[in-house]
């Protein structure tokens, strides 16, 4: 973790620098399929979607073990396991299936309710959890695509939530305009917070990982200070909490007051589309990705990578800032505390990784994690399994995703390409493939 830029280090081909994108393709094995059908099958079996699904599945299995191991009934029944093993198995099944069914009912569809309108409420409340995760995940993902690791989501969310929340309760403005100004102010705060990181990286070479971690705490204590000062503190409250947001500033409901889906969700959909357009259709996005893939090549190609770092961090700050804005104007509108970030800054990293840093993927990953979070509250209320269980699941999913060979080993999947006899041969083959042609090696060989 030097202060130098990756590009300035004269160490060649020792692996990728900050390439979370390369999570799935850092293996040295080259794809050398045996037959056309075999190639197709191997493509499917080693595709990132299959791996993602398997990683989620494996994590749920591990989570099931965790639930069973900590369940009181299971522990009681296992005391006489050799007397009546069926009791233990029964208890394990009850605890695990109960917990996952509760997550489903709380996060996707409540099948115990009598009509669709109330059953689907679960999914809509999941969207309420998913919205800030998607927004922040997009911000992190844009950074990943440009080779920047932004772990400062927490700080950006706190900064933007503080500013948007302040505008939301401190001013008297007409409905609509008030909301727009609050949103813009919050996004601006996020942009400033991101700009600090990008500027320091571009001008001094300060590593963004360190700067963002440190800025998280700076934002936390700054917000804490303001929440204890007349600026943000609700004078009528004993605790350091801000006043309620004015009704003119908060996001309006889309489906009536019954469902917690509001205008913020529209903003997040727009942000997702914008990110897709930016990354895959715009000139700026092309430059950003070029910097992310290979900064040295990008510089040789005439891209001013320092400027790109600043752009990326500002953009990342705006997107993550949207999550902060949503927290105060869409989710917790009754006044915010220092914990308003709700861990989204870090969960967003896992969302971005699960979504493979692609806007659509991030959207889907955000919805999945939103479902897990909304469901976890039902699970805690009904099954007595603590909500932090979800944090374990989320982390394990990403761990599995990070190492595709591990998932393949667990599920006995074929590695991409026929298994060569030795590692050095595989490397030689991959080198040959890389130098010969960027297209499918198998097609050429046939």
């Amino acid at each position: 973790m030097s202060t130098e830029l990756p590009s300035a280090v004269p160490v060649a081909d020792t692996g990728t620098d900050l390439g979370p994108l390369a999570l799935g393709n850092t293996e040295p094995d080259a794809p050398i399929p045996t037959s056309r059908f075999g190639a197709y099958l191997q493509d499917v079996m080693s595709s990132s979607i299959v791996l993602t699904i398997l990683a989620v599945f494996a994590s749920l299995v591990i989570g099931g073990v965790l639930i069973a191991a900590t369940n009181a009934d299971v522990q009681a029944a296992s005391g006489y396991f050799f007397g009546r093993p069926a009791d233990t198995l029964e208890a394990i099944w009850q605890s695990v299936s109960g917990a996952y069914a509760a997550i489903f009912r709380g996060g996707v569809y409540d099948f115990t309710s009598d009509n669709f309108a109330s059953g689907i409420g679960s999914f809509l409340s999941s969207l309420n959890f998913a919205t800030p995760l998607i927004a922040a995940g997009l911000g992190i993902a844009v950074g990943f695509r440009s080779g920047i690791f932004n772990i400062g989501g927490t700080g950006i969310i706190l900064a933007s939530a503080g500013v948007a929340g302040w505008v939301g309760f401190a001013f008297d403005l007409p409905a609509g305009i008030h909301m727009i100004i609050a949103v813009i102010a919050g996004l601006f705060a996020g942009a400033v917070w991101g700009f600090i990181v990008g500027f320091l990286k571009a001008r001094t070479g300060a590593h963004e990982v360190i700067v963002t971690i440190m800025l998280n705490y700076v934002a936390l204590y700054l917000l804490d200070y303001l929440l204890n000062s007349p600026v943000l503190r609700d004078p009528s409250s004993n605790a350091p909490i801000s006043p309620s947001e004015k009704s003119t500033a908060i996001f309006f409901d889309l489906l009536g007051p019954r469902y917690p889906v509001n205008f913020g969700f529209i903003l997040v959909i727009l942000a997702t589309v914008f990110c897709w357009w930016l990354l895959s259709r715009s000139s700026l996005g092309f430059k950003l990705r070029a910097v992310g893939e290979n900064p040295r090549a990008a510089r040789v190609a005439g891209i001013r990578i320092n400027r790109m770092y600043v752009y990326v961090m500002v953009l990342s700050g705006i997107l993550v800032g949207l999550a902060g804005v949503y927290q105060v104007l869409g989710k917790v509108t009754t006044g915010f505390e220092r914990g308003i970030d709700a861990g989204i800054g870090f969960t967003a990293i896992t969302v971005a990784l699960l979504g493979r840093s692609k806007p659509g993927g991030v959207f889907a990953a955000g919805v999945l994690f939103g479902i897990l979070q909304a469901g976890s509250y039902t699970m805690q209320a009904e099954q007595g399994v603590n909500v932090n269980f979800i944090a374990v699941i989320q982390a394990v999913i990403v761990l599995f995703l990070a190492a595709p060979p591990l998932v393949r080993a667990i599920f006995r999947l074929p590695t991409p390409g026929a298994k060569p006899r030795s590692r050095s041969k595989a490397l030689a083959a991959s080198k040959a493939a890389a130098t010969a042609t960027p297209t499918k090696m198998g097609a050429v060989a046939k």
Binding site: M1, S2, T3, E4, L5, S7, A8, V11, D13, T14, G15, T16, L18, G19, L23, T26, L66, T70, A72, F149, L200, T204, G205, A206, H207, V209, I210, V211, I213, M214, L215, Y217, V218, Y221, L222, D224, Y225, N228, N306, F346, T347, I349, T350, L353, G384, N386, N388, F389, A391, V392, Q394, A395, V396, V398, L399, A402, A403, P405, L406, L427
Partner: protein
């Protein structure tokens, strides 16, 4: 971005540097200006009561010191200004500002600040308690920083210090409660740290996954796991699982009676003594042994190390594991060395401060230890000043380590340069 040219030239005094870095005088000048602003412009008059020996059985009693706040602050501010100018003069004559010079400067700043903050308050500022508390807070930070130095020196970025500390705290509390043995608790903490290290090592070294990602995810995993187990298991049976015995203080006969230093350094629990051993061992080990040489070679230039027959992957893996032992023991100081029982997320970002100390300390064990002490001191200072009802906003003192670290990595304070290959997976080719 090629402005990183000032790489190794000025790092040793022997090197024929064309021009000495002006950072030290500039930084001292800035701090002196701040001191003048605080101590002279915002001068706070009134007596400041500074106490050295609290009511305990010290062999020597130092009387209560009553300092007149106003004049003392002005004198200190002038001294600071003179020292800053002195540093500039030294620089002019191509002489480096030595570490002891900076240390005296820093102590003066702290003294001036303490007098300023306590002037006119009725309470007494107890220096011994202030420093002892700082050591207590710093212990975990120092263990974390030492582990961080080892992992980074061997070429693996360790963001997972936080997770290792938290895991160590959790496992040590549970083990010590179940076995009624603090020693077992400390050993279990070390094992817990190693387990986290193993995951980090396998993913970072074998699967060549981005190390920062694995670190962050491990922190999330450990935080989620320990909180889940705490809420679902420990809270249901607090007496059986989460009421560990506290570590006794072990005064070293004789020298523990020295005023201030005795209670500060030699009347501590076993983890603090282990920390002294660890600091010395890591420092000597890194720079004076074959182990340290190999470790640094792997972190600086893995290809070269590989060429001379050092197994890069194995060296990295086992040193990351070793760092897990050290950080895990540090985690035990949260529970066994402090409050005893485990609490959800009780490390509260200490691992990230330790990471900051590693960087602020320039990847050197001694400097990182000093940085950790400094950070522990500021943290304790804010709680002491808080109880004295001083006008200093706590939040800004708490923010200080982080701001200082940002300034450090941005190159405004000191010069930081990490191991060259840190963070890069080594794939043998």
């Amino acid at each position: 971005m090629t402005t990183v040219a000032d790489k190794p030239t000025t790092s040793t005094s022997e090197a024929a540097a064309p021009r000495l870095s002006r950072k030290a005088p500039i930084a001292m000048g800035i701090f002196a200006l701040l001191a003048i602003l605080l101590l002279i412009v915002f001068n706070r008059a009134g007596l400041s009561h500074i106490e050295f020996t609290p009511n305990q059985k010290g062999a020597v009693q130092i009387p209560l010191l009553n300092v007149a706040g106003g004049p003392t602050e002005i004198v200190i501010a002038i001294l600071l200004a003179l020292m800053a100018i002195g540093s500039g003069v030294l620089n002019w004559f191509q002489l480096r500002t030595r570490l002891w010079y900076i240390a005296i400067f820093a102590i003066l700043i702290v003294t001036g600040f303490l007098v300023w903050a306590s002037a006119g308050l009725s309470g007494q500022l107890n220096v011994t308690d202030l420093l002892t508390g700082a050591v207590a807070i710093s212990t975990a930070l120092i263990f974390g920083a030492l582990g961080g130095v080892i992992t980074e020196k061997v070429g693996v970025v360790n963001v997972a210090i936080e997770g290792q500390l938290l895991m160590g705290a959790f496992v040590s509390a549970v083990t010590a409660t179940v076995t009624h043995s603090v020693v077992a608790g400390i050993i279990a903490a070390a094992v817990a740290g190693v387990l986290v290290s193993f995951v980090l090592g396998v993913f970072a070294i074998k699967y060549a996954v981005n190390q920062v990602i694995i670190g962050v995810v491990l922190n999330l995993l450990v935080a989620g796991l320990t909180t889940f187990l705490y809420q679902d298991v420990l809270l249901n049976s607090i007496s059986a699982l989460n009421s560990p015995p506290s570590l006794p203080r072990l005064p070293i006969p004789g020298i523990s009676l020295i005023p201030v230093l005795g209670p500060l350094l030699f009347n501590q629990n076993i983890i603090v003594y282990l920390m002294y051993v660890a600091v010395v061992a890591v420092t000597i080990g890194l720079y004076r042994t074959r182990w340290g040489l190999r470790l640094r070679a792997v972190g600086e230039h893995p290809q070269a190390a590989d060429t001379v027959g050092i197994n890069v992957g194995r060296t990295r893996f086992w040193n990351v594991a070793l760092a897990g032992v050290i950080v895990g023991v540090g985690g035990a100081s949260f529970t066994l060395g402090g409050v005893g029982a485990f609490g959800a997320n009780m490390t509260n970002g200490a691992g990230y401060i330790a990471l900051a100390a590693v960087i602020f300390g320039g990847w050197d064990p001694i400097r990182a230890t000093l940085a950790a002490l400094l950070f522990g001191f500021t943290e304790n200072l804010q709680s002491v000043l808080g109880t004295l009802q001083s006008p200093v906003p706590n939040d800004f003192l708490l923010m200080l380590p982080y701001v200082v670290t940002i300034l450090a990595v941005a190159g405004f304070v000191g010069r930081v340069r990490g191991p060259a290959a840190s963070g890069r997976p080594y794939v043998k080719s």
